[in-house]
Amino acid sequence: MTTTTSKAMIRFEDLRQEFTLTGNTFTALDGVSLDIADGEFVTVVGPSGCGKSTMLNAAAGLLDPTSGRVMVDDREVDGPSTRTGVIFQQYALFPWLTVRKNVEFGLELKKVPAKERRVIVDHYLELVGLTRFAEALPKELSGGMKQRCAIARAYAVNPEILLMDEPFGALDALTRVHMQEQLLKTWTQERRTVMFVTHDVDESVFLASRVIVMAARPGRIFKEIKIDLPYPRTEEMRLSDEFARLRTQVWEAVYHQPGVAEAHQ
């Protein structure tokens, strides 16, 4: 059902991203090449600071690669596009807008009529369980509620491509599972292309058709693990042997990389 041989929606071509860090050049990503097929669900895991967010930002058109490039739908990314929705690791809610207005923001820009907008926003607020807090300001939300608001904002514009940076990291386990299911449901129905950064190995296996395991220093792709579980994924699958096997495989790939021990000396 998923495949990497179909047309690439997102293509990283030998991407290299350097930053200036305390006067020196710091290589955050080096030689990252990756094809994400149209309609594919890819999760990215790797140690903290290995460049996951950097990679995602490059795909979102928010960075200027030092060398190499990112192509989306065969066109070089040179800025953000409305085809791409992003959920930022730090939420990036507009603090002066209420929850409702935050979620509505992208719809207004798309010139969706007010009435339609209301329906869409209500739908996504309910999805993330923030209906009661529609008129609250971000400063009045708990950490997890902020994150859910950011999720609703990204979903509302219904983008073809979703770039999600640890989108469920601040959620409690049940909400998280609920969100995972919702995401998979939408994805199966509408076949978004999804690039999903997570720290949770379980989550990476449960959601993806392919897990990209990254290594640090410099940030690079260490391994790709195909997840052959069929969609739709069910809660039972989490308990299956195949799932356990894949989880172990991902875990090993992430944590038995050369150099990991040194990072946690």
Partner: protein
């Protein structure tokens, strides 16, 4: 349990200093000294604050009375000034002058602030815009309004236009600096968030940069308002038929201190009131801010 006892015994001394003796452990909940979040003094009621405001003003008036009573040359006391105020109020001069000056300051200030926001944005957003505009803004900011009068008169005549222009300039130049700083201080991730939702520069300006930098814009407006009022005297040097500044000038020719002070105080009070208005607007516009 043994471990716990040991722990108490070795309680690290440097930390202990931070915890006074627990003698007040029996106090009631919500004692008056309870600190509110992140505030060193407790929150005072509106009335208490107004009372302090009032006390402060009263103290100032007292100092003034003492100063003039002590015979500082030419300084009339509050009573004398009040009498003069009554006179100019009665003959309608005060109302006319206030109206005229207020109209000038308001127009100049509003024009200045309104223009400052987009110009500040141009400067903060486009490097080219900044390179073109900045030297002029900086240059004119330091030029005394008095020095501009001849040129302004030559190009704009002596009607209301040049007067409003001088005030406009003062307000604009203060406000534009602040707005510019606001624009460059906007959190990058918010701009990115807007961009990925499809916002172009215009929309980012209106819907992200303006709200995000509203504290800066309002500082600029407040300073600009002050600058506008402080410039009204210079503006009304240009053949003004009326106005608080013009009347002050005139009184200065006669060294008529009570009249000077009446006008100065009216200017000060008007400025104060307008500033309060701005503050109220600000509180409304920036209530999303997590603030002290």
């Amino acid at each position: 349990m043994a471990a716990k006892d040991t722990y108490i015994a070795v309680e690290t001394p440097p930390l202990a200093s931070g915890s006074p003796a627990p003698e007040n452990s029996q106090q009631k909940p919500k004692p008056a000294s309870r600190k509110s979040p992140a505030t060193s003094g407790r929150k005072l009621g509106r009335k208490a604050l107004l009372a302090i405001n009032f006390g402060s003003v009263a103290a100032g008036l007292g100092a003034w009375t003492a100063l003039s009573a002590a015979g500082v040359v030419g300084l009339p006391g509050p009573v004398e000034v009040l009498i003069r105020a009554g006179e100019v109020f009665a003959d309608g001069t005060l109302a006319e002058d206030t109206g005229a000056s207020l109209a000038r300051v308001l127009s100049g200030f509003l024009l200045g602030s309104l223009l400052a926001v987009p110009v500040g944005f141009l400067m903060g957003w486009y490097q080219v815009g900044r390179a073109i505009i900045e030297p002029w803004v900086q240059f004119f900011r330091t030029i005394p309004p008095l020095a501009l009068l001849p040129l302004v008169m030559v190009t704009m005549g002596i009607g209301e236009t040049p007067k409003i222009f001088v005030i406009f300039l003062a307000a604009f130049l203060s406000c534009v600096i602040s707005t510019y700083q606001g624009v460059v201080s906007v959190d990058k991730t918010l701009i990115n968030a807007a961009r990925v939702l499809g916002a172009d520069s215009m929309i980012i300006f209106r819907r992200v940069v303006v709200p995000a930098s509203s504290p800066f814009i309002l500082v600029g407006m407040r300073i600009g308002l002050g600058a506008g009022w402080a410039t009204v005297v210079a503006a009304e040097l240009i053949a003004a038929p009326n106005g608080l500044g013009m009347r002050m000038q005139q009184a200065q020719q006669f060294y008529d201190m009570p009249t000077i002070l009446v006008n100065v105080i009216v200017i000060g009070i008007l400025g104060l009131l307008m500033d309060r208005l701005l503050l109220m607007i600000e509180a409304h516009l920036t209530r999303w801010q997590e603030r002290r």
